[in-house]
Amino acid sequence: MARWRSEFEALLRAHFDALYFAALDMSGNAADADDLTQEAAVKGLRRFDTFVPGTDFKAWMLRILANTYIDLYRRRRRERPAGTEDAVEALAEAVASLRPADLEFLLPEDIAAGLGRLADEQRAAIVLVDLHGLTNQEAADALGWPLGTVNSRLFRGRAQLKGILRRAADDHRAIGKRVT
């Protein structure tokens, strides 16, 4: 058993950064990211007997993390009222999309901030699929959503993100804030 735990720990160490930042990108704050990472690690250790050696440990842990996140998300969703900015900004940012030339005006923190402004469901789908390489089906299984839901949330989330980043780039361009 001790060897089992040390094997799990070694794998967790190797992929800890990815796991922690997936938690941070999905939840949007460090406190939740800490809790999510901790809880996912404990669940992973409990279920380590189901992990097939030689397969993708990172993807396996990301599925556990996503499942943990969705439980937290569902508990909190009912408490959060709709915001005026969401409806208006969702429209405004969907209008103009990102262009390759806009990247000269965007820092990594701008991109992280843009991701943080997406709706929770869209952000979770993009973090798992686009940032961490899960397939759409793996993300659907992890989040407990139908595949069609993942596909539509990815589609809308990507469109929203491109609009948000385009607007950020335009703002930086207006003040001459080039980064490359």
């Binding site: 089992w4 429209l91 940032l131 139908p146």
Partner: protein, 279 residues
């Protein structure tokens, strides 16, 4: 920029980050404080396996109502029934005629499905609403709960507090859920937990989804429809060009009528609410 390029942007910008050392140390040290965890996990796994095998091997007959739902779903569209409906007004009318009560047709846009047709089935007394997206067709059969009890004999699955009975037939799953006076049976080519999630979410949303009819005088309804569909919280939009109206289904938890009107006003469309069902 296409989606592959966006993916590269995200990975280049956000890959290679290092987690704070104190977080890493804290998580790993807490794992080491759980020596009994693995023994408990092994014991729990053995018990679960034994229980699972027992349940799996027990034969489960399919109730007649579920059997009929599987067949009707597979047979698909209009077949000896009334003509299909398209607009929410028509969906509401057909549902009212079939069930003798005003019942909200479930909103599934969050799950990626739009209602494309509804028809009554006089022999069974139910109304069959067909939803679809690009990949999948999904059926919702609604019947007066006074005429049909919640079928038992399936697997009980609880999704976010909503209790469902789940059945399987080959690649198809069926989920039965009772919502007050109405019994709903969902059928689709989905895994049972996925379909239970769709059905459960529809129930959770039921009390929050609202419908309003807006009149937008002098405007083409196509851009209005596009703007509304891009608004967070809007479930579905049906323009009725002959009346100059657009029917909007929205989740009241995520967007209000005032916000919808504000979004349209921001884009130069003055919309007036006619209330629910245009009354």
């Amino acid at each position: 920029m296409n989606d592959d390029e966006l993916r590269r942007v995200l990975q280049n910008a956000l890959g290679g980050r290092r987690a704070p050392e104190e977080v890493r140390a804290r998580v790993l040290s807490r794992l080491r404080r759980r020596p009994a965890l693995l023994w408990a996990a092994a014991a729990a796994a053995a018990v679960s396996l034994a229980v699972g095998l027992t349940l799996l091997l027990r034969p489960r007959p399919t109730p007649p109502l579920i059997e009929a739902a599987f067949q009707q779903h597979s047979r698909g569209l209009v077949d000896e029934h009334a003509a299909g409906a398209r607009t929410p007004r028509e969906l509401a009318e057909i549902t009212f005629e079939a069930l003798g009560q005003s019942v909200q047709v479930p909103a599934l846009r969050d799950a990626g499905f739009s209602p494309i047709q509804a028809h009554r089935c006089p022999p069974t007394g139910w109304v069959h609403v067909i939803y679809a997206n690009h990949w999948l067709k999904l059926s919702c059969f609604m019947v007066d709960a006074a005429k049909a009890a919640l079928p038992r004999g399936g697997r009980r699955v609880v999704h976010a507090g909503v209790e469902t009975e789940v059945y399987e037939r080959g690649a198809l799953s069926a989920v039965a859920v009772r919502d007050g006076n109405v019994l709903k049976v969902w059928v689709a080519d989905l895994r049972r937990d996925q379909l239970a999630a769709v059905a459960g979410d529809a129930e959770l949303k039921r009390s929050q989804v609202r419908r309003v009819v807006l009149t937008v005088p002098g405007a083409s309804l196509r851009p209005v429809e596009a703007i509304l569909l891009g608004t967070v919280g809007v479930e579905d939009v049906w323009p009725e060009a002959s009346r100059g109206e657009v029917s909007v289904l929205y989740d009241g938890r995520r967007v209000s009528l005032n916000e919808i009107e504000a979004v349209l006003a921001l884009n130069g469309f003055e919309a007036t609410s006619l209330g629910r069902d245009g009354r």
